[in-house]
């Protein structure tokens, strides 16, 4: 059996079932005769139980590839959904102050539980126009340079930084290359290590390689249960390994790109559980989970002195890596 290629494809049966339930509900609504309606409603209830069970089964024991599909799902909450749900008085700031503007990374100051914070995140789009406007969540150099500007302000005005990570990769085009996408990412990482204010990153969807780490090198990194974080997209890995990009599902296993693996290797701090059926099936529940987690980690970090916040971050990344010690 070949692997599904999109979240929609993978959920096809479930979506059909949901569609059927919706139609049945419509029919019940229109049914004038009480008995028939009751019968229909009872049937719907059964169907819904069936659907819940279906979701239970489908979403228990997800493989890495299924997580890739869920992490990329169009219905998944995006950064601006979190911004709206978790913060108040958000004012989006724009521009790299160097001649360019980017729409794949957004950010600005806001209040979190009444406390000033700086928000930064990748932003994807849901329909074709939005997706093009957001460049599919792939930031150009100016996106990272805007982030640097926001990080600088966060430091100057003693605001913790909350970043939301959700990108397939940084933009790899000729324009990006000519304006130094590599330097922009590296400089953003470097800036994050200069900060003495606490930084918390949440991987909400795709943590796509350099494009992700450019705004994710934080004191604490949290991953939603079904998000992924990888050095290379599985399709790209499969293309290099086996010259078969369609073997992405196999590569996704080899790459150990799930939240569980990241935690196991000591690369993230916490896995945030998603509602049954994924974050998009109950955004409100997801927002509450994320909010609580940010509160907890931010609260702990804010007890530390600025200098310790900085060395905590250094030490955290300093310890990452696995190697052997050869016999002298």
């Amino acid at each position: 059996m070949s692997s599904p290629k999109t979240h929609k494809e993978w959920e096809r049966e479930l979506l059909e079932l949901e569609d059927f339930i919706a139609k049945a509900r419509e029919a019940a609504r229109k049914e004038a005769e009480p008995k028939s309606r009751e019968a229909l409603e009872a049937k719907i209830e059964d169907l819904e139980k069936g659907r819940d069970k279906f979701i239970d089964v489908m979403y228990s024991n997800l493989g890495p590839w299924e997580k890739v599909l869920i992490a990329r799902a169009e219905k998944r909450p995006y950064t601006l959904d979190y911004v709206q749900a978790l913060f108040s008085e958000y004012v989006e700031l724009q521009g790299d102050r160097r001649g360019f503007a980017d729409n794949a990374i957004i950010g600005g100051p806001a209040l979190f539980n009444g406390q000033p914070v700086m928000v930064v995140g990748h932003q994807k789009g849901r329909n074709i126009q939005e997706r093009q406007f957001r460049n599919f969540g792939m930031a150009k150099p100016e996106g990272y340079r805007k982030a640097i500007r926001l990080f600088d302000m966060a430091e100057r005005f003693r605001m913790p930084v909350i970043s939301f990570v959700d990108t397939p990769a940084a933009d790899p085009g000729v324009e990006s290359e000519s304006r130094g996408i590599s330097e922009a990412i590296a400089a953003a990482i470097m800036k994050m290590f200069e900060l003495t204010v606490p930084t918390v990153a949440v991987v909400i969807g795709e943590g796509g390689s350099g494009g992700a780490i450019g705004i994710a090198a934080s004191n604490r990194v949290l991953m939603l249960e079904n998000s992924v974080y990888s050095v290379i997209p599985p399709e790209g890995c499969a293309a290099i390994l086996w010259r078969m990009p369609e073997r992405g599902p196999d590569a996704s296993k080899a790459l150990k790109l799930t939240a569980a693996s990241a935690l196991e290797y000591g690369l993230i701090d916490e896995i945030l559980p998603e509602p049954k059926g994924g974050a998009h099936r109950s955004p409100v529940e997801t927002f509450a989970t994320v909010k609580e987690a940010i509160e907890k980690h931010l609260g702990a970090l804010q007890k530390l002195s600025p200098e310790v916040v900085k060395t905590d971050r250094y030490d955290k990344y300093r310890g990452m890596g696995r190697f052997e010690i050869a016999e002298g």
Partner: protein
């Protein structure tokens, strides 16, 4: 500068760029730069070190670090063993201390022969230690880059080396110690997008391949047409991303001037400490 004996016993070889036939002895004398087209052929880490730093001053460190297979990635162990056999090293980066015109420097040199110079946990650790030693000992850092990018086979651990090495570069900057990167052919992807690009000064060898994405990816992604010199050192210079293109035979002098000027303050602190931290 050190002896430039022919690398192999063949009397002739062919330039990989212009395909002309070269005398090995001339080629070595010319620092493996083609007499005809000026192509800078790749060097092993050992040769690079011998041709750059003061004779017999290189002290290799971190030699105990060896790549494992933390992800149990398919075929990785075989590839590591093959690379070890080929290079007689445990990974792609050679690190240590050396002197350049008698000035102490902290040094790392990447070897493209070891799995395309890719950066996994060991390379990341060695670069980090090189930059940390520079900061701690107040000796300027010089890193020769040569890499296809992050090492896929160590997954997210490799990605995190980008953060780790960049953090070390930040520490270096904060310590007031200059860090000079030399982009040699090729300097790509995860290495370019981390410690390589944030050096205080970046010089590159002529025509070195330098870029973020594989050339094919970039060409697909961009609607704009691809310039002829795309992803070369020359392209980077034109776009303000590097400081200079330095031919191999001027490299040592250029690096020495940079260390003497930018590193003057740090080296005074080093000297004031009796030559050690």
């Amino acid at each position: 500068m050190n002896t430039k004996a022919p690398a192999n016993s063949e009397a002739f070889l062919q330039c990989i760029n212009c395909k002309k036939i070269l005398f090995s002895i001339d080629f070595e004398q010319n620092l493996r730069v083609c007499n005809y087209c000026g192509h800078h052929h790749r060097l092993s880490a050992a040769t690079r070190i011998a041709w750059t730093f003061d004779e017999d001053t290189f002290e290799e460190l971190d030699t105990e670090l060896r790549s494992g297979n933390p992800l149990e990635f398919p075929d990785y162990v075989d590839k590591l063993h093959a690379a070890e056999a080929k290079t007689k090293r445990f990974d792609s980066v050679v690190s240590g201390r050396a002197k350049l015109e008698e000035m102490p420097v902290s040094v790392a040199v990447a070897d493209f022969n070891f799995m395309g110079g890719s950066m996994g946990s060991v390379a990341g650790e060695k670069i980090t230690r090189t930059l940390e030693r520079a900061a701690d000992e107040q000796t300027p850092a010089i890193i020769f880059c040569a890499s296809g990018g992050a090492r896929m086979q160590e997954g997210l651990l490799s990605l995190m080396q980008m953060a780790k090495t960049t953090a070390a570069a930040q520490r270096c900057a904060e310590a007031g110690v200059p860090y000079i990167a030399v982009f040699t052919d090729p300097t790509m992807a995860g290495v370019l997008a981390s410690y390589a690009s944030i050096a205080d000064v970046i010089v590159a060898e002529p025509r070195a391949l330098v870029g973020f994405a594989g050339t094919r990816v970039s060409k697909q992604a961009g609607v704009s047409k691809v310039p002829d010199d795309f992803q070369t050192a020359e392209f980077c210079l034109k776009h303000g991303m590097i400081d200079r293109i330095v031919p191999r035979k001027e490299m040592r002098d250029t690096l020495a001037s940079l260390v003497r000027t930018l590193g003057g303050h740090a080296l005074s602190a080093y000297a004031a400490n009796g030559g050690k931290k």
